[in-house]
């Protein structure tokens, strides 16, 4: 048998031989029997003793706890919200100016050609004393470049301050709200994509009602020195189990969410990636962000290719890199694919020429040299259960 450990989507070797970083929870992961792998320059748990399938199903039925401390957290600070938001809007297509206090927006950093440098979450603090500040969470694999790009793009008087002293936990699943209520009674008051400062199990945290699994849930930013104690307090609840990167990947794939470096990168635009919903109406009309010419042209005329969901027939998974054919001709490429435990079969997403992007379109996926019948489907594969 070929060595399976070299062929996983999540276990990406580091770009160099540089020593791996670890999060404050590395020893806690090991104590729980985690299998640790290199990911985005960090040593991270790909799975714990129960395995990816069981962890995935647990998150969809109870509450899963994820260490996402490898992600980059930072504050952009300026004199007032209008000024700070206008500065960040020079770099992203999201409507940041229109963000209400205590609300979160998903957006993208863009290249001058409108490709995606990274996708990120932007929070406007609720507290008026923090007016003019924005809290960013970016991908681990991109954070150094992101922070350099943002710092360079900000005008005088507006600063970017990375927060390596913070850890980040995600609690996801239908029982996440009940769990958080027991440790932080007010946290359940946040609606989806809202958040604010909250004491959780006695620790000062910033809690957001957000996540990347398609489930209701919370992301909890906490001082790195408190991370282990907070992790233990959350795990003490019998509804909570630790979940590794393997299940995080299958959960987000079923939820139809993009993984940076796979489903989106500097060659894909937000329009091609079917992220148009994240571009504010005012921004579409006014432009004023990198690549706005391409993006507004694609909005008007349609992009030449589009990200779609793909449901293979049968049981064989179609992995990243699988060619998508129609009528014997390649029309696209799978960018994420595998087994969806909740779907109970293979699921994938990828880019196809726009002509073939309509749901129901029959395509062939070339798996091990043989055409595997599949259909274009509407994302997500598993309905989202966010708390609106």
């Amino acid at each position: 048998m070929t060595n399976p450990s070299v062929n996983t989507d999540v276990a990406e070797p580091s770009a160099s031989d540089a020593p791996l970083h670890s999060t404050p929870l590395v020893d806690a992961h090991r104590a729980l029997g985690a299998r640790m792998v290199p990911f985005a320059g960090y040593l991270m748990p790909v799975q714990y003793a129960d395995g990816i399938l069981a962890e995935h199903v647990w998150t969809r039925t109870h509450a899963g706890l994820f260490d996402v401390s490898h992600m980059g957290q930072a504050i952009v600070a300026g004199p007032d919200h209008a000024t700070t938001a206008a500065a960040l809007e020079r770099l992203v297509p999201g409507d940041i100016a229109g963000l209400a206090p205590g609300r979160i927006r998903y957006t993208q950093l863009l290249t001058p050609e409108g490709g995606i440098v990274d996708d990120l979450m932007v929070t406007r603090p609720a507290d008026p004393s923090e007016d003019g500040r924005l809290f960013l969470v970016v991908n681990a694999s991109r954070k150094e470049g992101d922070f350099a790009l943002i710092a360079e793009g900000l005008p005088a008087g507006i600063t970017l301050t990375p927060m390596p002293e913070k850890a980040l936990l995600a609690l996801q699943g239908p029982e996440a709200a009940a769990v958080i209520r027991r440790l932080a009674p007010t946290a359940d008051d946040f609606a989806f994509m809202a958040g604010g400062p909250t004491t959780v199990a006695g620790f000062d945290c910033h809690v957001s009602r957000s996540g990347y699994t398609g489930e209701d849930g919370f992301e909890i930013s906490v001082a790195a020195v408190d991370a282990v104690a907070l992790w233990q307090a959350l795990l003490a609840d019998p509804a909570v189990k630790p979940i590794g990167l393997g299940a995080r990947d299958s959960l987000r794939l079923e939820a139809g969410l993009c993984l940076y470096g796979h489903d989106i990168d500097e060659t894909t635009s937000p329009v091609e990636a079917a992220l148009v919903w994240s571009i504010g109406k005012r921004r579409r009309e006014e432009g004023g962000f990198p690549g706005d010419a391409r993006i507004r042209r694609e909005l008007a005329d349609g992009p030449s290719r589009k990200r779609v969901g793909l449901k293979p027939e049968g049981r064989a998974p179609a992995r990243e890199g699988t060619e998508i054919h129609v009528g014997g001709r390649q029309v696209g490429l799978v960018t994420s694919g595998g087994f969806g435990p909740t779907v109970g079969g293979p699921v994938a997403m990828g880019y196809v020429e726009t002509t073939f992007a309509a749901p129901g379109t029959e395509v062939s996926l070339i798996v091990r040299g043989k055409p595997l019948p599949a259909r274009v489907v509407t994302l997500p594969f598993v309905p989202a259960r966010y708390k609106r």
Binding site: M1, T2, N3, P4, S5, N7, T8, D9, V10, A11, V46, Q47, G51, I52, L53, A54, H56, G246, D249, S250, R315, A316, P317, R319, G338, F339, P341, P346, R368
Partner: protein, 121 residues
Amino acid sequence: MSTHYTKDHEWIRVDGDVATIGITAYAQEQLGDVVFVELPEVGKVVAAGAEAAVVESVKAASDVFAPVAGTVVEVNAALPDAPETVNSDPEGAGWFMKIKLDGAPAGLMDRAAYDAYLATL
């Protein structure tokens, strides 16, 4: 009847001139939850070291090699519909295929040698 092992973490149980082939407990542990198995056609002639089957876990796809040369005479027809058997009973009910041997198998390890090999990993 004798059981042999390969560095690719396959086991070969030889009974007369027929070898039953599967992956070891170590291999299934490394793979994680198996969700898909593709078996060869009965009658296929395989060379030693040739790709003969596919096993996929949630995260990874791996080839299963024919550790011996011969002709596939039987496959585990229950496996494609119950791939999790590879996890629960890898060296028993989770067998993949039976190959009628062309000659004596060569270059294989016995259990003690395989255990010693595992200890080096």
